[in-house]
């Protein structure tokens, strides 16, 4: 079965991870723009970061037969920094028309401040303007309230719900999201957020419509193979292949494909050639290039 990881921060991962992911069946992924673990102090570092997401990182993924897409945004945490917030928003249009950019995200709430709400709303506007869906991060702290506020803001802004993916859901927030027209993402984590068996229980209870799973792997303790591992647990629990296929492949394509920027033929091919170069750089360090 071909698998899609619709939320993973590959910039923080190694080529070993790419290899293992490809071997486990992951053929496509989405890398949302997020925060790098410590606050950035200049708008220019966002410019280089976004450029890497549509450039070098896409190339790196391609060298392992994985199709790389990304989402671009000012993340909720850094929306609180008045020195950079507006500058990042001013940069975004340059990237939002690009081919590999399939949503505005991650936007949403973190501490649930007035600034976060302001930039959340402004970025919903940007998404409308560029005809893109949005990926909405929900906070770790006070998650249920944060999810309610996110859904309320989407409604107030009259943003089409089928173009909203609310991410990092748990037992308490999933029913709230499914009661709307939004899609619901789940980040399967080693210790926090959601784990494989809890996810199985949720799928048994709520089915597979509008439900996605991801690893949200980044620079912290996380696991880039959580999508295949959760798929294995769903199989073991007797969940039908048709539902698994929907959760781990069809739903992400249906959601992000609303941009018209996901080429199905290209996804089916998944060939690669490691003798290619990116601005003169190769991912190889003297090894013989592989091809598929």
């Amino acid at each position: 079965m071909k698998l899609f990881d619709p939320h993973i921060h590959m910039t923080s991962r190694t080529t070993d991870d790419y290899k293992a992911m490809a071997a486990a069946g992951i053929r496509a992924l989405i890398e949302p723009a997020f925060w790098l673990g410590q606050p950035r102090t200049h708008v220019g570092t966002f410019d280089d970061y976004f450029a890497a997401l549509v450039g070098w990182e896409r190339f790196r993924a391609s060298q392992f037969g994985i199709k790389h897409y990304c989402t671009i945004a000012l993340n909720p945490k850094e929306a609180n920094n008045p020195k950079i917030a507006q500058g990042v928003l001013d940069l975004m249009p340059r990237y939002l028309e690009k081919d590999g950019v399939v949503a505005v995200g991650e936007i949403g709430f973190d501490d649930q401040t007035a600034e976060e709400e302001k930039y959340f709303a402004l970025q919903l506007e940007l998404a409308k303007q560029f005809d893109l869906p949005v990926l909405v991060h929900t906070p770790h702290r006070d998650k249920k309230r944060g999810t309610e506020r996110s859904l309320a803001l989407v409604r107030e802004q009259r943003f089409p719900e089928e173009r909203v993916l609310i991410d990092h859901n748990n037992e308490e927030t999933l029913p709230l999201v499914l009661a709307t027209g939004c899609f619901a993402g789940h980040s399967i984590y080693p210790d926090t957020k959601m784990d494989e068996l809890r996810m199985v229980a949720l799928v048994k209870k709520y089915g597979s419509d509008r439900i996605l799973i991801n690893s949200a792997a980044d620079w912290g303790v996380s696991d880039p193979l959580k999508v295949p591992k959760t798929v294995a647990e769903m199989r073991k629990a007797g969940i039908a292949d048709r539902d698994i296929q929907k959760i781990a492949w069809t739903n992400p394509i249906a959601f992000f494909g609303q941009t018209g920027r996901i080429d199905h033929a290209e996804l089916d091919g998944a060939h690669y050639d490691q003798s290619e170069l990116w601005e003169g750089n190769s991912v190889l360090r003297g090894q013989a290039p592989e091809k598929r």
Binding site: K77, D111, H140, R141, K144
Partner: protein
């Protein structure tokens, strides 16, 4: 508050190496004399503290502790590293010497390119500095860190958040403390900042943990128990 940092500075007297570093530092940066203050030099000296002073706790004697308490320092400072003490005292001197805006900019510069221990020192020094409420944005930002030692430098054994944070920022700090396994007893002034919204957030957190089949922090009662409205 500046008076109490001089009390901390006295700790150097019994430690000749630290005293020597501090005297050189104040001379080199122009802090000691009426000569020109050198910001760039200050940043270098500030960074050098760990290498020169080491990270060992400065561990005052019981008599010294008593004097600190008498000066109103009722939170724990004895676990500060000697390097952190050196940096805090250095900053306090700069705040005495420089016009407020320039001193604030210097502190921001120390923080912006700081390593983790330097950030800890800046955060721990804040309660000793004048007009400290201007550093609320910096400290709220510090709470967003993923580096636990930095989060604890502001959240634990530090009176700054209870004295200066808005209710929203303070509540977020408490929730983050639960998330990261920090004991409520380490948050200075918690009792005085309890509020109904925080109780609601903590109750929701407990419910979320139970729904996920996870344990609830043992000291969650410290913020969920009934209380009067307001600060």
């Amino acid at each position: 508050m500046i008076a109490s940092i001089h009390l901390l500075e006295e700790q150097f007297a019994a430690r000749p190496a630290a005293k020597a570093w501090f005297d050189t530092a104040t001379a080199d940066t122009g802090l000691a004399s009426s000569s020109t203050f050198d910001d760039e030099r200050f940043l270098l000296v500030f960074s050098s503290a760990t290498r020169r002073l080491g990270k060992a706790a400065f561990a005052p004697s019981e008599a010294e502790r008593e004097r600190l308490r008498a000066q109103g320092i009722h939170w724990q400072v004895e676990t500060w590293g000697l390097d952190e003490l050196g940096r805090a005292v250095l900053l306090a001197h700069a705040f005495e010497r420089l016009p407020p805006a320039r001193a604030a900019q210097l502190l921001e510069n120390c923080y912006a390119r700081a390593d983790n221990r330097e950030r800890q020192a800046v955060l721990r020094a804040l309660p000793f500095l004048p007009d400290r409420s201007r550093f609320v944005p910096l400290t709220v930002e510090a709470c967003r860190t993923s580096v636990q030692s930095i989060f604890e430098a502001i959240a634990c054994e530090n009176p700054f958040p209870a004295d200066e944070f808005s209710e929203l920022a303070f509540n977020q700090l408490v929730l983050k403390a639960f998330f990261t396994g920090v004991a409520m007893s380490r948050i200075v002034g918690l009792e005085r900042r309890l509020n109904p919204e925080l109780a609601r957030m903590a109750q929701d957190y407990a419910a979320e943990r139970r729904a996920a089949g996870r344990s609830v922090p043992a000291d969650i009662d410290a913020v969920t128990r009934p209380q009067r409205n307001g600060k």
